[in-house]
């Protein structure tokens, strides 16, 4: 019998109850929050120059989107002979403000990860190993790899840390704040087991929290242990989920010594997350970013750390708005996966991805050819780069540096006073 229409008890609500009544299990979903919460990107509009200052044509004028991530001193000092006295902490040069987010080998296939690595290399940006270790097949991409250290420490050892552009400590993830990772044994194939350095077929449990981190000073300890073991050659990033108190948390993380802070909004993707967590925990990245950037500025430390945000950037305009709110760079994952074929069926957790992305089955993985697919990802990011330059030029800017935190470039539409206040922007017409 068909479900009777009911505004509150939707067919989906009823189906979920029946599933749990049958199995007693925690509901598990893939991809990202699928509920109709407000999308603030769509309620902010960008500026363009008219007369009083000119727009700039990116086709004939230099238009700079190069971005540096890493800890910055408050000032530079010079010797009497004009040479630089201040020694800068290691910096990461990116040719675009777009990075690829963490997706482990295990949650996605080696071919998918390799496509991202190849694309990152061509684009002058970085891919992220997630907490699945770096597979030997990707060793040649180590200079564009971000290696992750999560609570399970899978595949983490000295050489892994050294084979990276920077190191990311994963505290949380937007799709499942407060919840760890759990790669089921059936996905731990020989290859996955090799990268993670665990026996084949065993569960890879990476709970929240890190059991050596119970406070901000413990985080400091982990950050500096990573700096020590890599002899201060690698910036250390800390990734957190955007949660209610994120401004205070980020401030603490910055003071704990993180060089880069990655904040993932509640729409961030995942290979698998408990449905209820995915759909109900965390806050929108737009509000979190605005609040964090403002807080760090009030504390006069915004300039010392880099801020990377993620959590469902659908197009280049979302990215431009994020940078105007105050981000240094953004990190994307779902978009490049869609470029590689993902149809958003949200069944990643089943491991049966038709497109050879979120699967370890050899017959499915072989459908994804990195030689072809990385080019689609390159195309996507290059198109976005060009669009970012067009929008920058329209605003009369020729460097992304002048967009960062430039909230006068944004106006809200259909937003309430409190939302505008948090975003730190005026309403359209003002």
């Amino acid at each position: 019998m068909a479900y009777q229409p009911h505004h509150n008890w939707t067919p989906q609500a009823q189906k979920e109850i029946l599933k749990q009544a049958r199995t007693g299990g925690v509901l598990l979903s893939g991809m990202s929050n699928n509920k109709p919460y407000p999308i603030y990107w769509d309620k902010m509009l960008l500026n363009a120059s008219q007369v009083t200052n000119p727009s700039i044509d990116p086709l004939r004028e230099p238009m700079e989107i190069r971005t540096y991530l890493g800890r910055k001193p408050a000032k530079l000092e010079f010797h009497a002979d004009g040479s630089l006295k201040t020694k800068l902490e290691p910096q990461v040069q990116l040719e675009t403000p777009i990075l690829f987010s963490a997706m482990s080998f295990g949650s996605i296939s080696l071919n998918a990860q390799k496509s991202l690595a190849m694309a990152a290399k061509k684009l002058g940006t970085l891919f992220n190993t997630g907490e699945g270790g770096l597979h030997p097949a990707l060793a040649e991409y180590k200079d564009c790899a971000v290696v992750q250290v999560a609570s399970g420490r899978f595949g983490v050892h000295k050489e892994y840390l050294e084979n990276s552009r920077f190191i990311e400590i994963k505290i949380g993830q937007g799709a499942k704040p407060g919840i760890g990772g759990h790669l089921p044994g059936e996905k731990v194939t020989v290859e996955v087991s090799h990268a993670r350095m665990i026996p084949e077929g065993s569960d890879a449990i990476s709970p929240a929290p890190h059991h050596d981190i119970y406070s901000i000073e413990d985080l400091r300890q982990l950050i500096w242990s990573l700096k020590e073991v890599t002899q201060y050659k690698k910036p250390v990033a800390v990734k957190i989920a955007a949660v209610h108190n994120c401004s205070a948390i980020v401030s603490g993380v910055a003071r704990a010594g993180a060089d880069i802070i990655v904040m993932d909004g509640f729409r961030g993707g995942t290979g698998a997350a408990p449905t209820r967590i995915r759909d109900n925990v965390g806050i929108p990245i737009e509000l979190a970013l605005a609040a964090v950037d403002q807080r760090l500025r009030e504390e006069c430390i915004r300039n010392s750390v880099s801020l990377v945000v993620s959590g469902s950037f659908r197009n280049s305009a979302d990215i431009v708005k994020a940078i105007a709110l105050g981000a240094d760079a953004v990190s994307i994952a779902t978009a490049p996966l869609i470029a590689m074929g993902c149809h958003m069926c949200q069944q990643c957790h089943t491991g049966k991805c038709n497109w050879g992305i979120a699967t370890q089955r050899p017959e499915l993985v072989s459908r994804l050819d990195p030689e072809k697919m990385h080019l689609r990802v390159v195309n996507l990011v290059q198109a976005w780069n060009h669009e970012i330059k067009e929008m920058l030029g329209g605003m009369g800017l020729n460097s992304i540096d002048s967009l960062r935190g430039n909230r006068l470039m944004l106006r809200g539409v259909g937003l309430r006073e409190r939302e505008l206040e948090i975003l730190g922007i005026a309403h359209a017409g003002q």
Binding site: T23, G25, L28, V156, S202, W224
Partner: protein, 244 residues
């Protein structure tokens, strides 16, 4: 070569240790006072001897090297250790051998909470932690491989051999406990078994090494019965989830 740690910062001290180890294989450090990260990532063939109290994360990411401490240790010794050996002639704090993958840690006396959590093994990599005294709560939490040994020696206050919530979420490896322990401190899904012949051989090997380092009586230690804890299933959470 001997270095004096005194009140120097960890960054200065560790840089000096690294420099010294470029030209020699062993360095001795006197009057260590809480400096962190000593010997982090130390490679095979290199060794450090410490006198005093090394700070947290001593031997983090240890990569085959050896650290011997004459004194007590603090928190997170051997964090994410990938090989090598750590010997502590004294007590140690919490989170000993967090996520260690290979190598051995010998602690003469007691260890704090959360020792050996996230320990794991991979092929020939089989980590071992031997604790001479008693140990705090959450021993071997989420343990996925390797061997933990708790001897319970020198326990005048008669503290429990292992604290509460021992082996929560354990899904691999083995824990050898010497003498009596409170069953209520052992988590569900954990089997308490007699040692097999192979287990006994492994245990004796570790006890022998322990005695060699700390001068304990091997026969006396092995005279008391041991039990082995191991997970009932390698997939404790296999039925936790329902695809939605």
């Amino acid at each position: 070569m001997t270095l004096i740690a005194g009140k120097r910062t960890f960054r200065e001290l560790n840089a000096d240790i690294r420099t010294a180890l470029e030209t020699q294989n062993t360095v001795c450090v006197e009057s260590v006072n809480g400096q962190r990260y000593i010997g982090s990532g130390l490679d095979a063939g290199k060794s450090i001897v410490l006198h005093g109290t090394p700070g947290n994360d001593m031997g983090a990411y240890l990569n085959g090297g050896k650290i011997e401490v004459f004194g007590n240790g603090q928190e997170a010794i051997g964090n994410t250790m990938n090989g090598g050996e750590i010997v502590v002639h004294g007590h140690v704090g919490d989170t000993l051998g967090y996520a260690m993958r290979d190598g051995a840690v010998f602690v003469e006396k007691r260890a704090g909470s959360r020792a050996g959590i996230h320990m794991k093994e991979f092929r020939q990599m089989q980590p071992v932690v031997v604790i001479g005294g008693v140990v705090g709560a959450f021993l071997g939490e989420y343990m996925a491989g390797g061997t933990l040994v708790v001897l319970g020696l020198g326990n005048p206050q008669n503290l429990p051999l292992v604290g509460a919530h021992c082996a929560t979420g354990m899904h691999g490896g083995r824990i050898f406990l010497r003498g009596a322990f409170s069953q209520e401190n052992i988590s569900e899904n954990i089997a308490v078994r007699e040692l097999t012949v192979d287990d006994r051989a492994e245990l004796e090997r570790h006890v022998k090494t322990y005695c060699a380092y700390f001068g304990a009586d091997e026969a006396e230690i092995l005279d008391v019965p041991f039990h082995k804890l191991e997970p009932l299933t390698a997939r404790p959470y296999a039925n936790l989830y329902t695809p939605n």
